[in-house]
């Protein structure tokens, strides 16, 4: 369903990703691990064309999308939920969710998606009239994820959803992501520092180090010690 071949990406002179190969099957949850600053977020940004790759190919449902502009990628069905959230601070929660359904496909199924989102995050239903700049970190994270769910995507890329959250909040966020995968059969690519949490739902994982894929493991082959070693 989704396949990356030989992808390289750079910021100015600094090359961050080297010849990345990666694939994801339909309905799969794939986790991406690796230390900070080693290119995990850059990979998601390259896929979503927020920061397009220098070279390489990205196939999504058989279509080459490496040169497709960011707004088209969303329309094709890849939603990206950045670590930085990038909410619209002077809009209400509801307005932010509306913006998530900006593309015309998503407009049609907006009511249905909204219901699902409120079902996953009941707290947002309570806060829907509140300006996003007044939300707490955890609530803002929920809005970011919910906004990503509104765009009718078939694949979801989530960058560090648990960063800066309290344990109970983290739990809620992971539960939500699992639910999305289970009930909507969304394909999910997740970058996460909380290995244990991420591994509970992942079918497969990739380990990145210094811009390269170090190894790939299926859920039943994963050795946490091996991953930890790759961090230090």
């Amino acid at each position: 369903m989704f396949e990356i071949k030989d992808l390289c990406s750079a910021y100015g002179d600094i090359q961050v990703l080297y010849n990345i190969d990666l694939h994801i099957d339909e309905g799969e949850v794939v986790a991406l691990f690796g230390p900070n600053g080693h290119g995990k977020s850059t990979l998601l940004k390259a896929i979503s064309a927020v920061h397009p790759a220098r070279s390489g190919s990205i196939l999504f449902k058989g279509q080459e999308i490496a040169k497709t502009p960011a707004h088209k990628i969303v329309e094709l069905g890849i939603a990206y939920i950045p670590e930085e959230r990038f909410l619209f601070p002077d809009m209400t929660v509801m307005e932010n969710l509306n913006m998530g359904a900006y593309n015309l496909n998503a407009r049609k199924s907006m009511a249905e998606n909204l219901e699902f989102v409120f079902d996953v995050f009941p707290r947002l239903k309570e806060r829907r009239g509140q300006l996003c700049s007044t939300l707490s970190g955890g609530e803002a994270r929920m809005v970011a994820i919910a906004r990503g769910l509104m765009c009718n995507a078939s694949m979801l890329m989530v960058d560090e959803p648990s960063i800066g959250l309290s344990p109970s909040m983290k739990f809620a966020v992971f539960e939500a992501i699992e639910k999305v995968n289970r009930e909507k059969n969304l394909t999910i690519l997740i970058v996460e520092q909380e290995i244990e949490h991420a591994l509970r739902m992942a079918n497969r994982m990739y380990q990145i180090r210094k811009g390269r894929i170090l190894f790939e493991r299926k859920a039943d082959e994963i050795d946490v010690k091996e991953i930890e070693k790759a961090y230090f």
Binding site: V50, F86, D90, E95, M99
Partner: protein, 288 residues
């Protein structure tokens, strides 16, 4: 007492006209962060276009206003698409767009001058007559202008609040990466923004022309006033532009009453300076 009331009314009238004039400026800045130094000429162009439709095509003035709008929209879109878009990607985009719009402004002004000549053009009043409110006389035209401006502001705020395009514009204004993530084509929105802003500005020019007088050169005066208002209220904020316009409109009419019309500008400068030092983000606080 009567003169104070009169000043209050005239402050309100010019304030509301300034408000709609400043809107075009604040829309472009708020959404694209480009400061339009050709703003005044765009307003003048709107006035002349409406005047042309009115006199040459003998259309009713209100209809000529409506005909002018799509032309202004197209102009705004063209300016973005073929000049500003490229400049925004280069280093020092801030100032190069300023200079480009300045150059374009002077060009347009002189083209208008060539076509229409330097004589004052009379744009008709929308309604004639006047009414008495207690001891003060208010022209019906001025009342009509205030109503139009009020309606205009309501339409615009509803546009930004309710429509898909308006929401997308606000989204781009608040977070460009966020807009990218939800799939908004940012350059296209910028194009629409320039179109919309030119349209509003042209509209305001026609209204100003009907209250004051119109020569090609007057645009620079309008523009600099617009600058002060926008920066005073808060760059890029619509309520800021409205509040700034009303405050400065009042300051204008009371300065005229107390010191004479020529002191308006120095008083504005001082007010502006003081505000910049105390609250650089402006009265209402737009984007800084």
């Amino acid at each position: 007492m009567e003169s104070i009331l009169n000043a209050l009314v005239s402050g309100f009238v010019s304030g509301s006209l300034y408000a709609i004039m400043a809107l075009g400026l604040t829309i472009i800045y708020g959404i694209s962060r480009v400061f339009n130094f050709g703003h005044g000429i765009v307003a003048v162009l709107g006035g002349y276009l409406a005047w042309t439709f009115f006199t040459r095509a003998s259309l009713p003035f209100v209809v000529s206003l409506l005909f002018m709008l799509p032309v202004m929209y197209l102009l705004g879109w063209l300016v973005y698409r073929y000049a500003i878009r490229g400049l925004m990607k280069k280093p020092n985009a801030d100032f190069s767009t300023v200079l480009f719009m300045l150059g374009l402004g002077i060009m347009l002004e002189n083209i208008i001058l060539q076509i229409f000549g330097p004589r004052v053009k009379a744009v008709p009043e929308l309604v004639t007559g006047s009414i008495m409110l207690g001891a003060i006389k208010i022209k019906n035209h001025e009342l009509a202008l205030m109503v139009i401006v009020l309606l205009g502001i309501i339409v615009l705020t509803q546009f930004f609040k309710r429509t898909r395009m308006g929401q997308a514009m606000r989204a781009v204004a608040q977070s460009i990466p966020g807009a990218g993530v939800v799939g908004i084509n940012i350059e296209r929105i910028f194009g629409y923004t320039f179109g919309l802003a030119f349209m509003v500005t042209g509209f305001s020019g026609a209204l100003l022309a009907s209250k004051y007088f119109m020569i090609p050169h007057i645009g620079w005066d309008w523009m600099v006033k617009g600058f002060v208002i926008v920066a005073f209220g808060g760059m890029g904020s619509i309520p800021g532009a409205v509040v700034g316009a009303l405050v400065l409109g009042m300051a204008e009419s009371f300065t005229t009453l107390a010191l004479g019309a020529v002191w308006v500008w120095p008083v504005w400068f001082i007010m502006f300076l003081v505000l910049l030092l105390l609250r650089p983000q402006g009265l209402v606080g737009g984007r800084n």
